[in-house]
């Protein structure tokens, strides 16, 4: 029998420490929606999403109400659209982006991901068309998210795609005053079952339809650490593990319930600690609770490495299937502590890059001056991809050129995406390197030093 203390602890986690399930994401294969006529293809895409995800939002709300746990977002991820659209004769894939947006609005989800291309070794005709259409697709839709995978540990880095993505990010920013760049992520080693946006897509190895769940709860971890002040770091790691276990069990329960009620297989629980801009829901707060005066201080990378590892160790045992990105997220605009540190000048782009070597994902939701050149953006992408490629992990760049703004200004996205101070970027040019294009070969997997 559950005791009173456990019941009150659960309620306190939900009420005061922002424990929530960040997202129930339904992955849907659109591989049977191909058609030479893009309008027919778009209709098939729209119909299939509406048919399979029609009850997703209602089911999510029922589960949330019955278990008393907030489920912040309901989302859909689909087969990378470059694959679905490959056989279309049209040059421009914008109608498909609009069909995705319309379907997302019809079923009532918060975001739809998968306006994506996987080009780590090279582009097909469809990949090239999709990438070209990203700026218009993201600025003319509301809920569509896009991702492009430009490198893997096994294939190396496609530097032609890196070069192009610098230009695409700039163009996307110019068409939307930067805002649409929050819906665009460039990956190295993208995962196929990620429920988090903007990088969610339904990979080609996934089933027809599945339910993936992303948990959250940095506030719960930082609260737990308040009870081990001054203790050695192994005690801190152990506390994080236990807390991550509790959090993930809730995610597993929600995933199983959603899967049963929707009659769709359960895919994975993503163990990520995903912050929100709300006070007390911050990964930076955890690092500061460990003993840093500000995130960005010396010791930040070590503390983050421990946090990331402990979250995985605690979470893995709590769920039957773990996947996605699973780790600690460090999006600057979505984390009150990161915003505070960046505004105080305590957190630089270079330090964030170092942090991405040891935690989930990468340079995330970072605003840079609006006049940053496409070459420099490509250089940032290449560096981040190299970290992912060499370390056999997922890395990503979701960076926002804040058009018309410069260092110290603020760009406000609203909602979960938060607000970001424009951070300084090294202005030395990588133009000649980026202009070379070609491929960076896959790294050696022996002689590790």
């Amino acid at each position: 029998m559950i005791n009173k203390g456990e019941i009150l602890q659960t309620i306190e986690m939900i009420d005061q420490q922002h424990l929530d399930v960040r997202t129930i994401t339904m992955g849907i294969s659109l591989r049977d929606c191909c058609h030479p006529d893009i309008n027919i293809c778009s209709e098939k895409v729209y119909d299939k999403i509406c048919r399979l995800a029609g009850n997703l939002v209602k089911t999510g709300e029922q589960i949330s109400s019955e278990f008393g746990i907030p489920i912040v977002n309901k989302r859909v991820s689909v087969t990378p659209i470059s694959i679905v659209a490959e056989s279309c004769e049209a040059e421009d894939y914008l109608p498909l982006a609009k069909a995705l947006d319309k379907a997302a609005k019809t079923v009532g989800v918060d975001f739809i991901g998968g306006y994506s291309a996987l080009v780590h070794k090279g582009c097909t005709k469809g990949d090239a068309r999709l990438i070209r259409s990203i700026p218009e697709a993201l600025s003319e839709t509301d809920l569509v998210c896009s991702s492009v995978n430009i490198g893997t540990t096994r294939a190396g880095i496609n530097m032609n795609a890196v070069r192009e993505m610098g230009t695409i990010i700039r163009r996307t920013a110019e068409l939307s005053d930067g805002f649409a760049c929050g819906k665009l992520v460039v990956f190295c080693n993208a995962v196929e079952d990620n429920p988090f946006m903007a990088g969610a897509f339904h990979g080609v190895g996934e089933p027809e339809c599945e339910i993936n769940v992303g948990v959250s709860g940095p506030g719960v971890v930082s609260e737990a650490l308040k009870y081990c002040k001054g203790q050695p770091l192994d005690v801190v790691a152990e506390t994080i593990k236990k807390t991550a276990f509790h959090i993930t069990r809730v995610g597993q329960l929600v995933a199983q319930e959603a899967s049963r009620r929707l009659d769709v297989p359960f895919g994975i629980v993503d163990l990520s600690l995903a912050p929100t801009p709300a006070i007390g829901d911050s990964v930076a707060d955890i690092l500061e609770e460990i003993g840093l005066s500000s995130v960005g201080a010396s010791g930040t990378t070590a503390a983050l490495a421990m946090l990331n590892d402990a979250v995985k160790k605690g979470g893995v045992m709590a769920s039957s299937n773990v996947g996605g990105l699973s780790g600690a997220f460090i999006p600057v605009s979505e984390d009150a502590g990161m915003i505070r540190a960046a505004m105080a000048g305590n957190l630089s782009l270079e330090k964030l890059e170092a942090m991405t070597c040891v935690c989930s994902v990468g340079l995330d939701m970072i605003a840079i001056p609006g006049d940053t050149s496409a070459d420099i953006i490509s250089g940032i992408i290449a560096d981040e991809a190299a970290i992912g490629m060499v370390n056999n992990k997922t890395t990503a760049v979701r960076i926002i050129p804040a058009i018309g703004k410069t260092v110290g200004d603020i760009i406000d996205f609203g909602g979960l995406l938060g607000r970001a101070p424009v951070m300084p970027v090294n202005t030395c040019s990588p133009a000649l390197m980026i202009a070379r294009g070609g491929r960076i070969p896959a790294p050696l997997h022996s002689l590790k030093n």
């Binding site: 559950i2 009173k4 456990e6 019941i7 009150l8 602890q9 659960t10 309620i11 009420d15 709300e61 029922q62 109400s65 019955e66 278990f67 008393g68 746990i69 509790h246 069990r249 809730v250 597993q252 329960l253």
Partner: protein, 89 residues
């Protein structure tokens, strides 16, 4: 379907009566009650069986919540499974 009703807030006359009346009206059976004053705040936890409840769980939850608002209390109902999932292997 078993669930926990939790009532937290400032103590006053008639809280238990009000909550039990609402549950009885909706045909929710009370299996166990514990009540205490914790950190100056009234804290009641009830284990209930909502299998015979005549309204949907969401409506029951909303009615308990609005009863809480009228008494200046926080009243919620959550299915037992979330506590088992979080605290038992």
């Amino acid at each position: 379907m078993r669930a926990f009703v939790t009532v937290i807030g400032k103590d006053r006359v008639g809280i238990i009566a009000a909550v039990c009346t609402l549950l009885a009206e909706k045909k929710v059976n009370i299996l166990d009650i514990s009540q205490t004053i914790l950190h100056d705040s009234f804290t009641m936890i009830m284990l209930v069986d909502a299998a015979g409840c005549e309204i949907s769980f969401e409506t029951l939850s909303a009615e308990l919540s609005s009863l809480g608002d009228s008494l200046d209390l926080n009243i919620r109902i959550q299915r037992e499974e979330i506590f088992n999932a979080m605290h038992r292997i």
